[in-house]
């Protein structure tokens, strides 16, 4: 791997897997319902995904591959892609435990060793969508998709990034603009990880340049009974009732 960024993210995710995602994997895999984000909003209320039965699906930055498992269970032919060996190892253990096998490929979202035009749906849920360089992973997703194929990706909202305190990155997001929007893209966190976040206008231009038609931007509102996520607790539910903390983009390859 030539670029230093993904290595840092692999290091950070190896540590996070040991601390949390490995032990969270069984319950995530066991979940029947497809849900989005820290407040577990059901896909049946969102309706952003197509019927995946019989579709070729690639998940970019699958982690422990629970989302891939949800789609495989619904009849999709899924390939999970992730750069972190420890997470793929957890995914493999889950595959055996749940008797649900699909290919897992160790690679970064920026550089996927799979053929052009081989998927109907490219999906990323807090995966490549935030941990890979958008200038590289979005064109890569376009390459992997067949014409008419869908790209669906999930990330924190731009507004949540702007409202994240600068001096204490562990602190919850606030009702205050703390970071500038102009120039935002790359965030280096104290655990060494590097997160990417383009504002809406930049993202729309990048999607168009990469050959996508923009179909939807779903800014998620926390449900009334939302509770703080036990691990990812930087979003107060009352904040996310008023402002979008997370967002889903849907784009179609022209």
């Amino acid at each position: 791997m030539s670029s230093p960024e993904p290595d840092k993210n692999v290091e950070a995710w190896t540590a996070t897997n040991a601390a949390y995602t490995d032990r969270a994997a069984p319950s995530a895999w066991a979940q029947d319902e497809i849900t989005w984000g820290v407040f577990g909003i059901p896909e049946r209320n969102v309706g952003v995904l197509p019927d995946v039965d019989g579709l070729d699906v690639v998940e970019l930055g699958c982690g422990t591959a629970y989302f891939s498992a949800w789609l495989a269970r619904r009849g999709a032919r899924v390939v999970g892609v992730d750069p972190t060996p420890a997470q793929l190892e957890t995914a493999r253990r889950m595959q055996k435990q749940f008797g649900l096998e699909f290919p897992l490929v160790q690679a970064r979202g920026e550089d996927v060793p799979l053929p052009d035009g081989s998927f109907d749906l490219a999906l990323s849920e807090y995966g490549a969508s935030i941990w890979a360089d958008p200038e590289r992973w979005i064109p890569e997703a376009a390459r992997l998709l067949r014409p008419g194929g869908l790209l669906v990706f999930f990330r924190g909202s731009t507004l949540a990034m702007l409202c994240s305190p600068v001096d204490d990155e562990e602190a919850p997001i606030e009702q205050q603009l703390h970071r500038p929007l102009f120039g935002m893209n790359r965030f280096e966190w104290s655990d060494g990880s590097i997160e990417f976040h383009l504002p809406h206008g930049e993202l729309i231009r990048l999607l168009r340049r990469s050959g996508f038609d923009i179909e939807d931007l779903i800014e998620l509102q926390a449900p009334e009974d939302a509770e703080r996520h036990p691990e990812y607790d930087h979003v107060p539910p009352e904040w996310a009732r008023k402002w979008p903390a997370e967002e889903i983009w849907r784009a179609r390859k022209l």
Partner: protein, 250 residues
């Protein structure tokens, strides 16, 4: 002409404001965007209009239309406020630039289907009309392949205005979800602002593909603008103004 209740209120509001816009100094300027006057020669949103049929929605004193007419477009400029159109007519005579001025609301455009190549709105219908009424009308009068370009306040900036005259701060003062109709306690007018996701869905559902969202940044070192909705310092960090560009599906 049947007007919605908010269109009547906005016409009264703009009738009152019209004398202070009577200079219409925009007529003498080069094409530019927003209160920091970002040149269109940087953004290229009004290029290639020569010989095109162009409609401006909520033209006010019609300075944007004058730029387009000067570039060779066949322009129709529409506004609901007679006093503003009066200023536009005076400027036409002064500059020797003639184009059609129509008194109407963009919520009900008196034009045939598919009769324009470009529909533009610069803080006109784009914020003073209900988007769920004017966007379908804009889509109707556009030819397939025609463009819609409109300037609005930045969605984030709308969260940061106190309910009193003065610039945006950094605190989020009102919710984003449900943002649509905005009324200020200090002004008898009705504005309309949508979250980004709602704009995208509204444009798409009217057969318009989203081509761009240009989030405008104030130029470094620019003086604070005459309009007091954001300081230059604020607008160096966050978009106080943004331009949507869409194209009618062929």
């Amino acid at each position: 002409m049947t007007l919605t209740e908010h269109a009547k209120r906005n016409r009264a509001h703009w009738t009152e404001l019209a004398p202070s816009y009577a200079m219409a100094s925009g007529w003498a300027r080069e094409p530019n965007w927003g209160c920091w006057g970002i040149p269109d020669s940087d953004l290229h949103l009004l290029d290639d209009v020569s010989g095109k049929d162009v409609l401006e929605l909520g033209c006010g004193t019609a300075y944007v239309s004058s730029w387009l007419a000067r570039r060779g477009a066949r322009v129709v400029a529409l506004d609901v406020t007679p006093a503003q159109l009066e200023t536009a007519r005076r400027k036409q005579a002064e500059f020797g630039i003639e184009f059609e001025l129509v008194e109407a609301s963009a919520e009900s455009i008196p034009s045939r289907d598919e009769s324009f190549d470009l529909v533009v709105s610069e803080f006109g219908a784009s914020i003073w009309c209900d988007p769920y009424l004017w966007v379908p009308e804009a889509a109707r009068v556009l030819r397939p392949g025609g463009r819609l370009v409109f300037l609005v306040n930045g969605a984030i900036s709308m969260l940061c205005y106190p309910d009193e005259p003065g610039p945006a701060g950094t605190e989020l003062l009102r919710p984003y979800f449900g943002m649509h109709r905005v009324e200020w306690s200090f002004e008898d007018s009705v504005e309309f602002h949508l979250p980004h996701g709602d704009w995208i869905r509204l444009l798409r559902s009217n057969g318009l593909d989203v081509l761009d969202l240009v989030e405008l940044r104030a130029p470094d070192g620019a003086p604070d603008p005459t309009f007091d909705y954001a300081t230059t310092e604020w607008a160096r960090k966050w978009p106080a103004e943004e331009i949507w560009v869409a194209r009618k599906r062929s």
